[in-house]
Symmetry: C2
Subunit: 365 residues, 2 copies
């Protein structure tokens, strides 16, 4: 999203409001409903999205006046941040609002930050703009190693970062990988997404990315918005995206959130989902292919069992019979398997496992 | 700690055991007691340390045989990792042990990873070596921006990383900042440690480190072992270390853990503590110096009140009357203050605040 476009949208929203007021109407705007009932799985695209239901936010409504006013105050602050070309967190936004609204009003509008978060989402969906485009930073998490040059224009300076020359640390994926940031050069055959940072470090030490000519990425658990956007951009460049997690509730969640998007970010839809992603492992099926794993399984926790049975009911999962088989095995054996178990025979085994599965196209959909 | 030294220590431990067995004795080793009763505050050095109490771990003792055997198995694996020059996490270690001990023994020695952690600590203190020297990686966290070149030798390759050319991301502080890593060049007048990553990003965008010729570091909350070691190394280079956190239970904890070390890492003593550190803010005193802050305070939570009254009783804190005053103000007003509040009047205010306090040497001890 370009800054001009974001500013224009914010300006137009303001003009709309003024126009409505001048005509003697109560100002209002409409925003797609984000509740569960309006979240749909788009079969064609393979992505969780919002449906067609809208909500109207209006000033002249006792139940909505306060929130309406808050949303307009947020929009005004975001406009200022974009014009100033300065970024802050929603905590920083909260204090700016508290500072400027606090003394002119009878009560503190933003006594709790939790009030401002859904209002920012309102603005994001109403204007079809991401909060990153409002210069609001989100929690960053995740690292990259591989043959990729990133051009980062930040605080008025341009830097080129070589993700192949970051030693043991890797390049930290920022909150915003769109504005002022581009992939300048990229030389990789695929992207490997590794759930755990410690496993990423293990593979980085083995120079897995160099030997396999791939990009090695860890989301460090659940993928941040920035990491999901980066994966989307890499998939747009036609790189296959392989995801490597534990075989348990948390690992599956990480994979499916990357692939189809997640309920709470369904409003970002295709911007943040990577339906092209494939699941490389670890799987219950691996146990029959790699004998030693049978003694390295762990008893599944109640949350794993509960999650597995829920997942079998999701239409976007149970349309894949491979996943149904996988989840049924978990439910039957009540066992789970961690990616770390592949270090059992020798520390370097995990790279051999991955290279073999990739060579054999041995993935779950 | 050099690798040779670590290997030598592991070898000597093994030889000791064999010697004892050959003499017909039950093998044993001694290790300093790590329980609360043996943690002392060293007034001279200003650091939490272990006292003189030792414990004996012996094989011929029904209550200790199992743990003794586990510890020896861990020592053997760590020796292998160091010789192979490969790193792993304690989760990787756990699976290596499960793999090699699992089939020869009646029961799984390491059915739970929680069993192995205290045993690794036993080895660390018994041999006076850090787990990082055993090639065991710990959770990494924290970022640096500033004029510093890091030489990182990793996986057989040497890379030089310029912490001043990392754009919006910064250099990610790794688990181990000692082995295969050195500070090649450093040009800074002081180190600023900023509790929150979002605030670090704010200051990085303002190029605070360039304007002030300092190193800008965020531990991202509680400082990791790697971040504390890096701060120790920077303090050894005679750079002043200023810590900037929230004025609340969590912020104070972050500061005091950096300064004196923490209870659970007291066994690392001076290796990981930075008694030279000073607290820059935010403080209750700031409210009288910066008027607008009085309307940006928040009601303290019960945990903040509880922590403040506990801290007043710690001898290493209440010997500083400035801290006693600060904590008494919190207890009296029942208010807290976040570092983000400094963004209230304008986003760039936080840098002005910091520069002013540093110019005036306005710190808590």
């Amino acid at each position: 999203m370009e800054k001009i476009n974001t500013l224009e949208k914010l300006n137009n929203m303001g003009k709309d409001m003024v126009g409505q007021i001048k005509k003697g109407h109560s100002p209002y705007f409409t925003t797609p409903l984000r509740s569960r009932g309006n979240i749909k799985f788009d079969k064609e695209e393979g992505v969780l999205k919002l449906g067609k239901k809208d909500e109207k936010r209006t000033f002249a409504n006792v139940g909505q006046a306060r929130k309406f006013m808050q949303t307009m105050a947020i929009a005004a602050k975001c406009k200022k941040f974009v014009e100033e070309e300065l970024h802050t967190s929603i905590r920083g936004l909260y204090y700016q609002l508290k500072f400027s609204l606090g003394e002119n009003l009878e009560e503190d509008l933003f006594s709790e930050q939790s009030e401002s978060n859904p209002l920012i989402e309102d603005l994001e969906v109403a204007l079809d703009v991401k909060r990153e485009d409002f210069n609001l930073s989100t929690d960053r998490k995740g690292f990259v190693a591989g043959d990729m040059l990133i051009e980062d224009t930040f605080g008025g300076e341009k830097t080129v970062i070589d993700c192949g020359k970051q030693g043991r640390s890797g390049w930290s994926i920022p909150s915003d990988v769109d504005n002022g940031m581009k992939i300048k050069e990229l030389n990789a055959d695929y992207v490997l997404v590794v759930e755990k940072d410690a496993m990423w470090q293990r593979l980085n030490e083995d120079k897995y990315w160099k030997k396999q000519n791939c990009l090695l990425i860890t989301p460090k658990g659940q993928a941040s918005r920035g990491t999901r956007r980066l994966l989307r951009k890499l998939a747009d460049k036609k790189l296959p995206i392989y995801v490597f997690t534990d075989c348990d509730a948390w690992g599956w969640y990480i994979y499916w959130a990357i692939k189809t998007g997640s309920m709470n970010l369904a409003y970002l839809g295709t911007e943040i989902a990577v339906p092209e992603a494939r699941f490389i492992g670890v799987t219950m099926k691996d146990i029959s292919d790699f004998d030693f794993l049978s003694k390295l399984t762990i008893k599944a926790k109640p949350v794993d069992i509960k999650r597995a049975s829920e997942m079998i009911d999701y239409p976007w999962i149970n349309r894949h019979k491979e996943w149904v088989n996988e989840l049924k095995t978990v439910l039957r054996t009540k066992q789970k398997l961690e990616q770390d178990a592949l270090q059992g025979p020798r520390l370097t085994f995990v790279g051999e496992y991955l290279a073999k599965k990739i060579a054999n196209n041995d993935f779950l959909p």
